[in-house]
């Protein structure tokens, strides 16, 4: 996995280095009170790499990706995102959040704003973009997720699958370097999973760096460069998808796969 020595030499200056990894986690530990949720996480994500993270519930997979954009705070270890090290410094957190898009299980669209306003909000207020330019970009991405005709509706008027596609478009409007997906299809009706996965596949094909927490193993086979299995707050096994599914090494991985692949 990650060479700790190299990571230790990586500094905040590395942002100018184009070959720097997209995300680098070194010895990351996190506790909720006494509960040790993340244990010595070492993970390096190369630019353009697609990673699928799976594991039983409570294994820390969501917590791990939420540490990357500081929705959760880690208490030990280092996280370097696109060359910027995550520290207490609010400016750096803002900088990283601008570069990292996130899609949630429950979409988290803003129900009081129209689809278009959902998409233009961050470009206008965070990037200080002119309203007209922001709307142009928003419409571009809404076309990409194939729902430009819904732009003036409110999230409550859309189906779950449509809402999730809007959430993806909303993240893309900030032109992120890395996209995090936290169980993006788990809250969807079975008929709507495919439209969201299709959007994610096309995003992956364009070379976006992606970290997806998901149990869609078909998706993992199709796009992942690497599948990571987590349990009890640690990375148990990590391999390229064919090997991961065909020949899991760890007992825990075998048990997990036998439960979810019927």
């Amino acid at each position: 996995m990650t060479d700790i020595a190299t990571a230790a030499t990586a500094t905040a200056k590395a942002s100018s280095d184009p070959s720097a990894p997209a995300v680098q986690m070194v010895g990351v530990n996190k506790w909720y009170g006494d509960f040790h949720v993340l244990k010595d996480i070492d993970l390096t994500v190369k630019k353009g790499e697609k990673i699928v993270i799976c594991g039983p519930s409570g294994s820390g997979k969501s917590t791990m990706i939420r540490c990357i954009n500081r929705l959760e705070e880690h208490q030990a270890g280092r996280i370097i995102v696109a060359g910027t090290e995550l520290t207490e410094d609010l400016k750096r957190i803002d900088e990283i959040r601008r570069d990292v898009g996130m899609v949630f299980q429950h979409f988290n669209l803003f129900p009081h704003l129209t689809i278009l306003e959902n998409c233009t909000l961050a470009p206008i207020w965070v990037k200080k973009m002119a309203k007209k330019d922001a709307e142009e970009i928003a419409m571009h991405y809404l076309k990409r997720v194939r729902i430009p005709e819904q732009a003036l509706k409110y999230p409550g008027q859309l189906s779950g699958g449509q809402q999730q596609r809007v959430a993806i478009a909303r993240s893309l409007c900030m032109s992120p370097k890395i996209m995090l997906f936290d169980e993006p299809t788990s809250a969807l009706d079975p008929e709507m999973v495919k439209e969201v996965l299709d959007t994610m596949v096309s995003l992956a094909n364009e070379g976006m760096t992606m970290l997806c927490v998901t149990h869609e193993m078909g998706f993992a086979r199709q796009v992942a460069d690497r599948v990571i299995f987590m349990d009890a707050g640690q990375i148990i096994e990590s391999n390229e998808p064919n090997a991961f599914f065909a020949a899991p090494q760890h007992e825990r991985t075998k048990l997990f796969l036998s439960q979810i692949l019927h």
């Binding site: 803003f110 965070v126 409110y154």
Partner: protein, 376 residues
């Protein structure tokens, strides 16, 4: 009958049909809503009887038996007469302006006009130039009104606040109270939910202190006790003290109402906003507050209506608001009669009701307008 096969294939899809006629139309409505059972019918008849008798007794007093024109209270002193409207006519200007000098009454009138001219377009969502309108209402109107009412510059005769009264004072206290208490309440609510312990503690103490004392005590303290603690010669206007007291008092209640709204906003909204890179104030101002405030419109308007009616308590520190002016005029020997008091209080009740009902209806309309479908 004994077909045990489990297989079933629908050959054609069912057409839409009308519901049975016993469930639609006015007769069906009357039957289900008013005369569903013997008990329902009894309730309906009793309810109608009570409403009719109440409305009749008010109409009988205010219209049928009322005295419509008279030079003095003589006619109103007759046996069995109703409302004494000539009294109201004679005192109407005082109800509106208080003891404001008669020849200067155009100044409060102009303030009323300015107030309406800036508030009404602001309240109508379709009228453009909202930003300019907000500045006109929150900055220009108050400054112009202040100089118009107090005078002392541009050749305007100075008028002391002790002479202000009636509807003028009621509106000043309630409008200033509403406009100042809402932002203060929002800040207190945010502070109470803050992660910073000192900020949180200060807000909790402020809210609990002001919620824990009656408004009368606040007003009384502000007008009688405060001067004792202030250095000699330093004097803060009595009306201003009442204004500050009312505003802080209401903001403590609003803070708790708004905190209720904040608690109803799912964590995902905060996370969605943070993940997009919005800062704390942007997140609160653009995402959380608009939703939280919308949820608690009924509670906020409740506080505003209470505030409007509580302005009558300023009488305790001898500021004569609308009710105070009406009460003061009742002892005029020219108009004194058994029905003068009833007439005066009827007028007060009607005026207060019109304003409160207006606020209530406007807020209900706003709630419906702001509804954007389902939550999530």
């Amino acid at each position: 009958m004994t077909d045990t096969s489990l297989a079933f294939v629908r050959k054609e899809l069912a057409e839409r049909r009308d519901p049975p006629s016993s469930f639609v139309g006015p007769v069906a409505w009357l039957r289900t809503n008013l005369f569903g059972s013997l008990f329902d019918a009894l309730l309906t008849v009793m309810g109608v009887a009570i409403v009719v008798s109440l409305v009749w007794s008010v109409l009988d007093f205010a219209v049928v038996r009322a005295v419509w024109s008279a030079e003095s209270g003589e006619a109103c002193r007759a046996e069995g007469v109703g409302a004494c409207w000539p009294f109201v006519e004679a005192y109407w200007k005082q109800f509106v302006y208080g003891r404001y000098p008669a020849e200067e009454r155009w100044r409060p009138t102009l303030v009323f006009v300015l107030f309406a001219a800036t508030l009404i377009p602001l309240a109508m969502p379709k009228v453009p130039y909202k930003r300019l309108n907000v500045i006109a209402f929150l900055v220009v109107m108050p400054i112009v009104s202040y100089f118009l009412l107090t005078g002392g510059i541009f050749g305007l005769v100075p008028v002391e606040t002790t002479l202000w009264g009636g509807l003028l004072v009621t509106l000043i206290v309630s409008v200033v109270g509403i406009v100042c208490s809402l932002p203060l309440g929002i800040l207190l609510a945010l502070g109470r939910r803050s992660k910073l312990p000192i900020v949180k503690m200060l807000c909790v103490v402020t809210i609990e202190f002001w919620r824990g004392v009656p408004l009368i005590t606040v007003l009384f303290m502000a007008s009688n006790m405060l001067p004792l603690f202030m250095p000699a010669g330093m004097d803060v206007d009595k009306l201003l003290r009442a204004l500050i007291g009312v505003a802080i008092f209401t903001s403590a209640y609003l803070a708790e109402t708004i905190r209720g709204g904040l608690q109803a906003i799912p964590k995902g909204q905060y996370e969605g906003a943070m993940a997009l890179g919005l800062g704390y104030w942007q997140m609160m101002g653009l995402i959380v507050m608009p939703q939280a405030l919308k949820l608690v419109i009924p509670g906020i308007v409740n506080s505003f209506i209470s505030l409007f009616k509580d302005t009558t308590l300023v009488l305790i520190v001898s500021i004569f608001d609308l009710l105070g002016m009406i009460q003061a005029s009742l002892s005029d020997p020219i108009w004194i009669s058994p029905v003068t008091g009833k007439t005066g209080y009827l007028v007060a009740a009607m005026l207060f009701w019109i304003f409160c009902f207006g606020m209530s209806r406007y807020s209900q309309w706003m709630e419906r307008r702001l509804a954007t479908g389902h939550k999530r």
